[in-house]
């Protein structure tokens, strides 16, 4: 297996992230002898995506407060093949840094015009596009005066089990990166930078919204730990 292939993912044993202490397994992960990479399931039988599900600014009577943005990019596998028809689901805090979730106790206002969830299917080239507002940073109790950098949660769901990915997209130039144990759990800076979107003039609409470009790369369809020694 190429050493690059999986080492980009953060180890679950990341003690700086307090929630991991009682949840990260203690035993080493077992190498899978089967052909996991070939496992595919039919995706989303009977499921429908609404035509406005990708636009988080148009889900209520009024517009949400905040900086209007477009986030767009492509979903590829590591061999460069586009993932067409993959389900992309996103969720995020509002512009004040508050999630529309009962468990979020941050003393910041909810926005009646923002639920903070969207979804779409990638097109034939693996492309996706969301319209939303820039989420705010928010405090959490991981360590004294801890703040999460602004981020959007992304879930990529394709028919291949090995390609399943849940991650977070960050915004360029955020001063909060270095104190965030979630982002810093990714072992190397180069890999961390792949979680940071790029501001894009091309995606920025004049007198309307800022644009951010962010591509996502998931494992190849046939990737298995035994690829290197599998019989021809």
């Amino acid at each position: 297996m190429p050493a690059s292939s999986r080492s980009v993912h953060p180890p679950n044993d990341s003690p700086a992230y307090g929630s991991s202490l009682l949840r990260a397994p203690k035993q080493p992960l077992r190498v899978h002898p089967g052909r996991l990479g070939e496992l595919t399931a039919p995706l989303l039988a009977g499921e429908t995506i609404g035509t406005l599900d990708h636009d988080l600014t148009r889900q209520h009577d009024g517009e949400p407060l905040g900086e209007r943005i477009t986030i767009s990019g492509r979903v590829l596998d590591e061999d460069g093949n586009p993932l067409a028809g993959a389900l992309i689901e996103v969720w995020q805090a509002n512009a004040s840094g508050r999630y529309a979730h009962l468990s979020d106790q941050h003393q910041a206002p909810l926005d009646p015009n923002f639920s903070g969830a969207g979804r779409c299917l990638t097109d034939a080239e693996g492309g996706y596009r969301f319209i939303t507002i820039k989420p705010g940073a928010y405090p959490w109790r991981n360590h004294p005066n801890a703040w999460r950098p602004a981020h959007v949660h992304f879930s990529v769901f394709s028919p291949a089990f090995t390609q399943r990915l849940i991650t977070q997209m960050y915004f360029p130039g955020d001063p909060l990166f270095a104190q965030d144990p979630v982002l810093m759990s990714v072992p190397d800076e180069e890999s961390r930078q792949r979680l940071v979107a790029r501001w894009s003039l091309e995606l920025t609409e004049p007198e309307w919204s800022l644009g951010y470009a962010w591509d996502i790369v998931v494992a190849g369809r046939q990737a298995t730990p035994l690829d290197d020694d599998a019989p021809e």
Binding site: N12, Y17, L22, R23, A24, Q27, G34, L43, H101, S185
Partner: protein, 165 residues
């Protein structure tokens, strides 16, 4: 061409906002012949239920998804998959591939659920065969109240066997 992968990040505590409705807990509809209800609880290293986890099951027939409730419970209704033929390592017994996501997990955990009424196939399964008896027991569901029960222990003496994706 090999492109560098996008790293994983935790699903966090608020995923129900975005992941609640799209994929459901019914891989097989109610009344489907052979449909079985698989339920379980997710526990942390202190033996406490994990109330903000997300379980996904994967098989050729489809995918199921269920968030855990306040007591760590999940339930998915599906059918037993056919045997999987595999390569030189042997023939696998019917099983579900399972992903576990939760706050506190930076990368998903991958495990498998085998069926308790498949003694012969389970005995020949190369994955189960590579494990000790105690480890194997963490992957085989038990019959429970007309369905199957499959508890997941993230840590501890009964820690579930997890695989390298």
């Amino acid at each position: 061409m090999t492109l560098p992968l996008t790293p994983s990040q935790t699903v966090g505590p608020f995923f129900r906002i975005g992941l609640a409705t799209t994929i459901g807990a019914h891989v097989a509809g109610e009344g489907t012949p052979g449909a079985v209800r698989i339920s379980g609880q997710v526990f942390d290293g202190a033996g406490e239920p994990v109330p903000d986890g997300l379980i996904e099951t994967w098989q050729a027939e489809g995918a199921g998804r269920c968030p855990t409730d306040d007591e760590g419970h999940f339930a998915i209704v599906t059918t037993k998959p056919a045997r999987n033929a595999v390569d030189h390592s042997g023939v696998e017994a019917p099983h579900l591939d399972v992903s576990v996501f939760a706050r506190g997990l930076l990368t998903r955990l991958v495990t498998r659920m085998y069926f308790p009424d498949e003694d012969e196939a389970n005995a020949a399964d190369p994955v189960l065969g590579s494990l000790s008896d105690a480890e194997r027991a963490t992957l085989v569901a038990v019959t429970d109240d007309g369905g199957l029960r499959f508890d997941i222990h993230l840590q501890g003496a009964r820690e579930t066997v997890f695989f390298d994706r």
